[in-house]
Amino acid sequence: MRNSIYISKTIVWIMPLILLALLLFPVPSFGRGEEVASYINRYKQYEVSTGYYEQYEVRPRHQSPLVRKFRGVDREPFAYSSTSASIRNRNHLADSHRAIKFYDNRRCEECHINETRDIHTVRANMTCRQCHGPEPIASIDHYYSPMNPIRRHAYICSKCHEGASASFATYVIHEPAAGALSTKTSFPALYYSYWFMLILLAGTLAFFIPHSILMGVRELFGKRKERTGDDDADDAH
């Protein structure tokens, strides 16, 4: 008994101490994944705290969860031409909308309707220009684009999220539909999380709702039987 009290008391004292120690530990930065030499570590802290970046670049695109597959036209059975692949892939152009017909009279959402349904647009009422900038809008992967993953956190994210790091900028703003089969190849982590949670939700309710209904119905019959039995007994008297 004394032993039990001793162990219980020890737990009660040790657990808050562990929690306190966790709070006092310095913030690690291994997830940020920036390629920096050790002598500028102090500068890195300054950047994170102020959101002001300069001097060095970060390692490009190492953490993207999106598995990008650009379908090469030359692999199609009927290719447009021997060079059309580079024209159809607009991810590296200085003007990503180059040669689109009647571009001046069009609105972004006419072609990019799915990109207007994410949290940034729906919740924060942000417009496309606030991140993608003025015309000409460079392709995401164009080397000098502010949206390029090597500097997106500094030029775009930090405008609202002070101290955003390269790791933070890997958040996928325009998420693909989580349950879609195409997401299995483009963002597998999202796809499998979605289906796991959906099966868990459906499975739990699919078991417990019929279980509860059957329990209720059976109890109702039981009570009715008891009542009928009582009535019969009363009648006998």
Binding site: M1, V12, P28, S165, F168, M197, L201, F208, S212
Partner: protein, 277 residues
């Protein structure tokens, strides 16, 4: 004079305190969370306005969430102090333990047979298998909601530890787990606690702390037998709750039920306008 029903103690004051704390925080989290989740809908906007608007509702959601985490940690510490370390085997796997065992699987099978009238009613012990599920569901739901919630609360710091794209997954998991918890509590738990014939109008055990002897004989005959064998039946007898206290917990219970059903029905109606991520 009418003889008062004999009652047997089922939950301590602290147990009931934890449950009451969970009811309050869960309802606040559901209301504030739904007001954000359903913000693109007219109902969501109205609910959000009632809860103080876009910024205030998330402020409440975040800090009540922190309170919930602290309550969860305290409860876990309390749970550890309840373990009899000297008789660890009996303490963890005995009839008074909440840890699922082979008897629960047996009871589930017997109960299914009983549902269809092809078997006798299983003799339940202190904790029925669905009560154990209710208890441990909190232990998978709370850590998931807490970790993803803290990640979303401090996304910049979180992205120092893990890649930023895990925030996409965190949003999905937080919403899906919250919807699962809300659906389960407001459909299954409320039905079992309030509306099924043997509980109607309300299973008072979690508020009164005790259950009538008839309920014990009917629902938990194995526990009654255990109390008799251990000679603890006399010490487990308690006085019934006062009428005033009964009125208070009936009003509170039905307010919680009504509020939960209101959120659930509107959630179902407007569910087509929202996504899990």
């Amino acid at each position: 004079m009418m003889m008062q029903t004999m009652r047997i103690k089922r939950f301590s004051l602290l147990d009931r305190g934890f449950h009451f704390f969970l009811i309050l925080t869960f309802l606040i989290q559901t209301a504030t969370g739904f007001s954000r989740l359903f913000l693109p809908t007219t109902w969501g906007k109205k609910l959000n306005a009632v809860l103080g608007g876009y910024e205030t509702s998330i402020f409440i959601h975040k800090w009540v969430g922190v309170l919930m985490i602290l309550g969860f940690i305290l409860h876990t510490l309390y749970l550890l102090t309840r373990i009899d370390w000297k008789n660890l085997g009996t303490s963890l796997f005995g009839p008074d333990s909440l840890i699922p065992n082979i008897h629960d699987a047996k009871h589930l099978w017997q109960r299914i047979l009983w549902f269809f009238g092809i078997g006798p009613r299983p003799k339940m012990g202190r904790w029925a298998y669905w009560e154990k599920f209710d208890y441990w569901a909190v232990y998978w739901g709370m850590p998931l909601l807490a970790i993803t919630g803290v990640m979303l609360m401090y996304p910049i710091i979180a992205s120092n530890y893990v890649p930023g794209w895990t925030l996409n997954i965190a949003v999905l998991l937080h919403r899906a787990e919250a919807i699962l918890a809300v659906s389960y509590i407001f459909i299954v738990h409320f039905y079992v606690g309030h509306l099924r014939p043997s509980s109607f109008p309300m299973n008072e055990a979690m508020f009164a702390g005790s259950i009538p002897m008839e309920e014990l004989e009917d629902e938990k005959p194995a526990w009654l037998e255990q109390l008799k064998n251990e000679g603890k039946l006399e010490t487990a007898k308690v006085t019934p709750p006062s009428p005033l206290y009964k009125v208070i917990y009936f009003v509170f219970g039905y307010t919680a039920l009504g509020f939960g059903v209101y959120l659930l029905i509107n959630g179902i109606i407007y569910s087509r306008y929202i996504t899990l991520h």
